[in-house]
Amino acid sequence: MTTAPGAGDSCPDRLFGDVGWRFDALKPHAYNCNVVQNPAPSPAPTTKLTLDTALVLYQTMARIRAFEDAAEEASRGGVAVFGASLTDAKVRGPLHLSTGQEAVPAGVCAHLHRDDAITSTHRGHGHTIAKGASIEQAMCELFGRATGFNGGKGGSMHIADFSVGMLGANGVVAAGIPIAVGAAHAAKVLGRDTVVVCFFGDGAINRGPFLEGLNWARVYQLPVLFVCEDNRWSATTATDKMTAGAGALSRAQALDISGTTVDGNDVFAVYAAAGDLLTQVRLGQGPRFLHAVTYRVKGHVSVDAAQYRSPAEVQRALAHDPLLFAREKLQALGATSSRVAALDTAAREEVAAAVRAASAAPWPTAAAAFTDIQDLGAAQFR
């Protein structure tokens, strides 16, 4: 892995490897290596799900799952959040896993072009990968290596790949909302034909920027799709107990932003709903809202055993695992189980290679602590 940070090449060929079909078949403009300045308006998405599409969606989920399983493994002992002591784990600090929530980024980002932008949360691996970022560079970033997207400056909580329009995970709940809205506002001011997708959790809808950002998007009719990943939990607190009213979508509707609630563990449903909404956004109809109901299978951070939850609740969610569910659907669509298994294997191999590469990758130098801060004023200044 010798690519410089930020210079990641994430074209489909290299990204998805030789898996027997072309990513291009699904999305003509997607991940086009040349930034498409003014793409033609997207056609209305076909609700008929082809096998190829279904397989690509499954593949994205499998890659996210494999990535996070490996990251979790590499993080054991690497965080002291709940008083545990530190070892020299490969991934250190808070690691927020989106295990069980993969269908949301997979289904939504499948509709995005490379020059479309997304903003993410503290739980951002899925968004990063689904938007087309390199798994190897992502792993390097989690390992804190110079070859990571952020050169090791950000880690999991701040992972970003601007080259594919992934404008950053964020350590502050709801902070991505105004940023997404601003990115969409810039697109409108600059006459660009791109859209922005803004991901956030169910807990974020109780922070002020949620209201301000949604109001703003509607006032200026900006091209942004808000996606609430409703995993029922906010750290150790059940979100519904802290949330007045019917929740995310009804709040958006009160701001005259229409949208849909969808089973966030059904990647095909997410794909269909997001496609409809994004078509409206691309047609200049203003912001739209997707409320995706899913479940946070793991603890809040990797060291959180989440014993404050009922096991039954977790069991129910595991039974409705998005990959499990998609596998059944793929079978119904005619995919052999070996074809699906091959995707899993490929994902695990890709991730294993990324772990090897990241383990061998160079650390940032101490000097890097003083770059990328600001042009004026010495950083070493004491």
Binding site: G78, V79, A80, V81, F82, G83, S85, L86, R92, G93, P94, E141, G144, R145, A146, N150, G152, K153, G154, G155, M157, H158, N170, G171, V172, V173, A174, G203, A204, N206, R207, G208, S234, A235, T236, T237, K241, M242, T243, Y308, W363, P364, T365, A366, A368, A369, F370, I373, G377, A379, Q380, F381, R382
Partner: protein
């Protein structure tokens, strides 16, 4: 007095428990406090006092702090959990324009007795948005008290004092001190504003607070081996700060080195150094954090930290 071994987190928890038992006006509110807080600093309290007094809240920092102001004006003494000081950025109007101003602005008609807990400091692997120390900011704001305990006993005693203070207190625990265990005497009390001299010495005065106190002590021990006699003062509270203790020591040693983890530029060390230089004209030096965001990777994070070695170097250079 009975002493017991407690962690920095448990010592604060005990202080809060006793205050809540003694005074029905004391309550706590914030995210995840019901399960004990993410650092265990509220462990067991909801079981003991119920969800009405240990209040789980939505992720609404502005309103957590703003509601606490309304509660304080209405007769409660709220402990306001901000999780890490970085997130208090989402509640700055409520802290600076409301909590700090209400008593004065309304001509003394009301008071805002609250304790806002804003944990500070570099926190392993947590990078730029979870590692900041803002203590100097709050000393700049009239109306606020600023407390920065370094030990379990002080965390106990100063939290007791903060709860009794009657004005808004910015209470800054250090995220890498939660696990520090030491003897704690629960009956002990301590007024706000009194420094502690941890070690006497005649060559140089070392002033510090919070986590850095421990590195300062270590450096002083190393310096002693080189024949440099270091006086170490733990300031403990930054507003008010114990000018008398610092000036008395400085008058003897003629050299003051202020050491703190927060960014050195416009850090509270500047206030101390300026005061000492203005008042006594003795020599001053500072060793504070570099003016950089805290990076994630260890080599980057390490640049935002310093320990006994760097302090020792500063001491050596100073007395040379």
């Amino acid at each position: 007095m009975s002493a017991t071994r407690l962690s920095y987190a448990a010592a604060a928890c005990l202080a809060l428990e006793n205050a809540m038992r003694d005074d029905a006006r004391v309550i706590a509110l914030g995210e995840d406090v019901g399960r004990g807080g993410i650092f265990g600093q509220y462990l067991g309290l909801q079981e003991k006092f119920g969800a009405t007094r240990i209040i789980d809240t939505p992720i609404s920092e502005s309103t957590i702090m703003g509601a606490a102001v309304g509660m304080a004006l209405s007769g409660l003494v709220p402990v306001v959990e901000m999780r890490v000081a970085d997130f208090a950025m989402c509640a700055m109007d409520e802290i600076v324009n409301q909590a700090a101003k209400a008593r004065y602005m309304f001509g003394g008609q009301g008071r805002v007795p609250l304790v806002a807990r804003l944990p500070i400091g570099v926190w392993t692997g947590s990078a730029a948005q979870h590692s900041q120390s803002f203590e100097s900011w709050f000393t700049h704001v009239p109306g606020l008290v600023v407390v920065t305990p370094a030990t379990p006993q002080d965390n106990h005693d100063l939290l007791c004092a903060a709860l009794a203070c009657g004005d808004p207190v910015i209470y800054m625990e250090h995220k890498e001190l939660w696990g520090l265990v030491d003897e704690v005497t629960p009956e002990a009390r301590l007024p706000i504003g009194v420094a502690r001299t941890l070690k006497t010495g005649s060559d140089i005065t070392l002033v510090s607070w919070s986590r850095t106190v421990h590195a300062a002590l270590e450096a002083a021990t190393l310096a002693a081996a080189e024949g440099i006699r270091v006086e170490v003062i733990d300031l403990r509270t930054l507003w008010p700060w114990d000018r008398d203790a610092v000036l008395a020591s400085a008058a003897r040693t003629k050299r003051v080195l202020v050491v703190h983890e927060a960014v050195q530029v416009a850090g509270f060390g500047a206030e101390i150094a300026a005061t000492v230089a203005e008042t006594l004209g003795v020599r001053v030096k500072r060793l504070g954090g570099l003016r950089i965001p805290v990076g994630y990777a260890k080599p980057l994070e390490d640049e935002a930290r310093f320990g006994a070695t760097e302090i020792l170097q500063s001491i050596r250079a100073f007395v040379a």
